[in-house]
Amino acid sequence: MRTAGTRPAVRICLWCAAAVLAEIALFASYRGHDARFHWFTHFFVGSSLALVGMAAVATRRRRPVPAPLVWPFLAHVGAMFPDLLFSGGVAHRRWMDVFLGHISTHYVPGRNLTWFVVFLASLGAYLTVVARDPGQLRR
């Protein structure tokens, strides 16, 4: 028997499955670079920036952002764009830092562990905004 909450739950699951498949496709695209390292850096950096932006938009609109899994994915694609070029035979250049710090983000102390912590903090920030009572936001 179908309950009232079944349809939204199915929709959420479909979004999650699509997001996971899309990220697997990005991971598999790393023929020129080592996915084991580079995918994580650009995923964490792109997603963190997206989540901070989502938190700001959600605060302003007083409701969760639409399509919340699309934002991190698009930011991830932006952050890793030079790696797609590299697979096509275009070497990296310093100016490619315009793609969300594509070059320099690999060299922060702590490497991917640092970006993992930043990602978790950003996700926590967005979820905190989403969970907040709008009455509190007005004060």
């Binding site: 670079h33 084991r36 007083r62 035979g89 070497a91 990296h92 250049r93 996700l123 907040r132």
Partner: protein, 180 residues
């Protein structure tokens, strides 16, 4: 005050579950990725195949690996390989000549083969050449497997460990093509 917005009705527990799932799932993947590194990989993955010229303290003068190699006015790729693995690299070099007119040299950490395609072959049992080129030690602490790209002015512009370079000469060509 209660409003009719979806936001006000959102329970906290599922959001905590989302955070925990992300932390656990991605943390596990990160651990697995770290454990998947091979003995010839760089301990610090940021320095393995960075894909851009002049990383770290580069450019730096390239020492000669043999008389006249590298040659001024002509880019060169200096490969560093272990004796037991050099045959695969030589087969790859025979199939795919260096792009951009670049010269190739193969420095073997032990007894070198008699020939290796069109590359100059040099023995480096003590690892002095690998050290002079500034190649990093792999995870197992042994001699490095990787390569350096030298420009026509005799400067090292790119260097990396790459134990899979025999199957990735296209990436070497990308870095040679990036030379000014």
């Amino acid at each position: 005050m209660t409003t009719g917005s979806r936001w006000a009705r959102r329970p906290v527990r599922p959001l905590v579950a989302v955070w925990l799932a992300a932390a656990g799932g991605l943390g596990l993947l990160l651990l697995l990725a770290g454990g998947a590194q091979g003995p010839l990989d760089d301990r610090d993955q940021a320095w393995q195949r960075p894909g851009f010229l002049d990383a770290g303290d580069l450019p730096a003068p390239a020492p000669d690996v043999a008389p006249g190699v590298p040659t001024r006015g002509r880019p060169a790729v200096v490969f560093f390989e272990r004796p037991g693995r050099v045959a695969a690299l030589c087969r790859a070099l025979e199939r795919a000549p260096m792009p951009g007119g670049a010269a190739a040299a193969v420095v073997v950490a032990g007894r070198p083969p008699a020939r290796c395609g069109a590359a100059t072959v040099v023995g480096d049992a003590g690892g002095a050449l690998a050290a002079a080129y500034g190649l990093r030690r792999p995870r197992d602490g042994g001699s490095p497997a990787g390569y350096a790209v030298v420009d026509g002015h005799g400067a090292i512009r790119y260097r990396t460990l790459d134990p899979g370079v025999a199957g990735r000469l296209g990436e070497v060509a990308t870095m040679v093509a990036a030379l000014p």
